[in-house]
Amino acid sequence: MAKGQIVAGCLAPHPPHLVYADNPPQNEAYSEGGWETLRWGYQRLARKLKNIDYDAIVIFTPHWQTYIGTHFLGLPEFKSKSVDPVFPNLFRYNYDLQVDVELSEAMRDAASQEGIITKMMTNPDFRVDYGTITSCHLLNPEWDKPIVTISSNRNTHYYSPEVMIEQATALGRACAKAIEESGKRVVLVASHSLSHRHFVEEAPLPEDMSKEHIYNHSQYVWDMKIVEMMRDGKSREVIDIMPEFTEQTIAETEGGGLIWMLGAMGFPDFPAEIYGYQSVIGTGNVIACWDPNDDTREYVL
């Protein structure tokens, strides 16, 4: 059996606004559009993924928050309706998705062997979180690949951002090992924004783009610093600066997704592809992809 490999790593923010703006048949809410910079960026990345041969998407989400270890989806199918607890007016999405349970269990076993506390989630009534649904919908609207969701253990709050870096990196390494041994070709997804201070009021028409802007300039400057380092292939430095970035911008990086993904990819020193940056209700969001294949890596934006 050929060695499995990570064929791409995507930083894929999950504001439900983006699905809302797209009006897919699965979502009950109706919009007049909005946030095109991100949506068009997502469409371009989704087209790239269509041209990559892969078996499964493994996604790390900050909206499945676990305090007792890291949990993995452990049943082959989940079908239900995901209603965003914060933006239920925008996101009520009927999903029907497949899970690669074999890969999920293999990653769980590898993580356990590394001393990480783990748990398989096998309750059929469990509702898959809206971060998973949003990022996966935008990256693969056809839902024709199985996924694995990994929960975000709350290390940042419970201990410190530094502990989160150690734990998420170790988890990334374990997942990479399991993927290699599985023989599968896998797309990794870190589902989150960068700066994450929201406005606490919403425009009467949420997609009114005349009202959309970053929460404050400091958040913007920090986000740009991170994006610049990604472009320059300085993924190790992104992680080094992350505790301060997370604190200064209340960044959603606190959940550990990007650390996990870059850790699994061995902290790549090649440039990330940048597909777009835009604010959503004040938060900063970049879509980025690390393509380890020198032949297919592009300079997108």
């Binding site: 209603v83 607890p85 989630m121 096998t122 309750n123 253990n153 606490v200």
Partner: protein
């Protein structure tokens, strides 16, 4: 309106959010004591003349202001993110939609951003599900659930409580108010044998017991004034502040004239789980000035930084 134009709050309940008392009460002596305390509260609610059960849940965070559950019949099967292996929680809750809509208006009159949520399948949080399922299993009394805004601090939370008072007085409804929150909220980060459950640390236990003394003495406003210290000492810093005592005091009345009763205090995976009742009475403990300002209206961020800007 009641004669005094003051709302009639029959009693308050403080209870923990974790699902063990609902799903696995027999797994440990502690969990079954918590369950018995919930059952006692249920009985007292049944024997009371309450028109509404009002829940403020720390496990329902919101961002766009304060969300108010308004769906007439909220029906779903909930599963907890961590304790999914303990089982599913099917529920059907009947909301007091009339209360919910007026509550939104009264929040806005006091300067708060607020909205009702009325969506089939809305994910009601574990804490609210556990509390309502145990306290009001047959929907004898309609209820309403309020979210806890992630960014809100003291003034917003106090004003939110006052908006509850406005609404109850307007509708002349007798209420039982419920706060769903742990005391110390640090859990063990590994799976444990429930029989070996204990409070995470001695320090957490010491603080919890001190807080319980205050509750037992009915010193609710004193607890409200202590909230920032409590947050710093025994709360994992997930949100900006420990808000339950602020909300409970603002809703029930900002004083120390209560009969408090601690029905149970046990560990829930390391966190401090207590079931407590507070009943308005006469006679106050202590007689002193409080440090924190009272606040009637929320006027938004103070924009301190902007005021210091050079032109």
């Amino acid at each position: 309106m009641s004669e005094t134009n003051e709302p009639e709050i029959l009693f308050g309940i403080y209870c923990p959010p974790h699902p063990q008392p609902l799903l696995s009460p027999e797994a440990s002596e502690g969990y079954s004591k918590l369950r018995a305390a919930y059952d006692e509260c249920r009985k007292r609610i049944e024997e009371s003349e309450a028109d509404i059960i009002l829940v403020y849940s720390t496990t329902w965070p919101s961002i766009i202001g304060h969300q108010i559950q308004a769906l007439e019949k909220a029906i779903w099967t909930h599963v907890d993110d961590d304790f999914h292996y303990l089982g599913s929680m099917p529920y059907e809750f009947h909301m007091d939609t009339e209360f919910a809509h007026s509550m939104k208006e009264n929040c806005e009159k006091r300067g708060l951003e607020a909205r009702t949520v009325e969506y089939e399948g809305f994910p009601i949080d574990t804490g609210s599900v556990v509390a309502l399922q145990l306290l009001n299993p047959d929907n004898r009394i309609p209820s309403c659930i309020l979210s806890s805004n992630m960014y809100s601090n003291r003034s917003e939370t106090i004003v939110l409580g006052k908006a509850v008072r406005d609404t109850l007085a307007q509708q002349n409804k007798k209420a039982v108010v419920v706060v769903v929150s742990s005391l110390s909220n640090r859990m063990f980060t590994e799976h444990i044998d429930p029989k070996e459950d204990r409070i995470h640390s001695q320090k957490d236990d010491d603080w919890n017991r001190k807080i319980l003394e205050f509750f037992d003495d009915g010193r609710l406003e004193d607890l409200s004034q202590l909230s920032r210290d409590i947050h710093g000492q025994i709360r994992v810093q997930k949100v900006v502040a420990y808000k339950p005592a602020w909300w409970l005091a603002a809703t029930m009345g900002q004083h120390n004239n209560y009969d408090g009763e601690v029905l149970a205090y046990e560990a829930l995976h390391g966190s401090g789980g207590a079931v407590i009742t507070l009943t308005p009475s006469t006679g106050s403990v202590g007689d002193k000035e409080f440090d924190e300002d009272d606040v009637e209206f929320y006027r938004g961020d103070r924009n301190v930084l902007d005021k210091g800007m050079l032109e």
